[in-house]
Symmetry: C2
Subunit: 144 residues, 2 copies
DNA sequence: CAAGATTGACTTATCAATCTTA
DNA sequence: TAAGATTGATAAGTCAATCTTG
């Protein structure tokens, strides 16, 4: 009736949560300490920058960043208020928009990356061999 | 100067985030679908129940659940308003409190557990062998 | 009517300031 | 003065309703 998971199942779940929040907290903490925006902004800036001059539909961001529709809307509003992205009406679909990055947005992403990358290197790159990282990726891929 | 992490480092980070949020979203989604409180309440109820009749100091909860002081304070306020826990003045330290669980709190934890456990079993227990789970735990332990 | 996107109302999270006691 | 805990003000997240166009 209880269908209690095995100890190793619970242990993996606990470790998964602790590991992800430890790295995430480290990243957010360093960004904040440098006076930079939260990590979520980086993800948006990267996707929009990659999309180039044509920009990206908010719907595409929802899919890639796994955000709800309203979350995307409000996140883009903040980025636009900060002058990092712009929204323009969509030529082929009057309901939608195309989001593009500004020069300030590109600069902001470039300032954020070394901080972000530094934490990843310190917390992941320096602590595992390539083989270990690949083994971990293969295991975690089966959870998502 | 860029100190860009290896591809496998970034890949592990991305997988880690996706895996943890996939399982977490599944748990929260099932709890909500059953009309139950969020997972954070379960963690508090479990710790407080384990503490027994003497209860637990809010400070102890902060350490175990890695919550900020104000987070603990507001979380406990909601649990108390829901009748699941109670705060009593602390005999040995006039500044502090002792939090204990109520019978309604015990019942709520028992109702939440099968839902929580079911997701863990389906998403983790059923997808990995014991050896794989132990290997994953060993790897993730080095990130926390 | 359905899809893309936004918004109002409400809840939860965060920071800094505060209160009480050690 | 510092530690345990709370709170006011503000930011961010969430749900449902809405608006506009396909």
């Amino acid at each position: 009736m209880e269908n209690t998971p095995d100890d190793s199942t619970v242990a993996l779940w606990v470790r998964l949560m602790r590991a992800s929040s430890a790295v995430l907290d480290a990243i957010e903490g360093r960004l904040k300490a440098e006076g930079l925006p939260p990590l979520g902004w980086y993800d948006v800036l990267l996707e929009v920058e990659r999309a180039g001059d044509d920009g990206l539909r908010p719907m595409a961001l929802e899919e890639r960043l796994l955000l709800p529709q309203y979350g995307t809307s409000r996140l883009l509003k903040r980025l636009e208020e900060a002058g990092l992205t712009v929204r323009a009406p969509c030529p082929e679909d009057g309901r939608g928009f195309r989001v593009t990055i500004t020069e300030a947005g590109r600069q902001m992403r470039r300032r954020m990356w070394p901080v972000y990358a530094g934490v990843l290197q310190a917390r992941i790159g320096d602590r595992f061999s390539v083989e270990e990282r690949k083994a971990a990726v293969a295991l975690l891929a089966r959870l998502g």
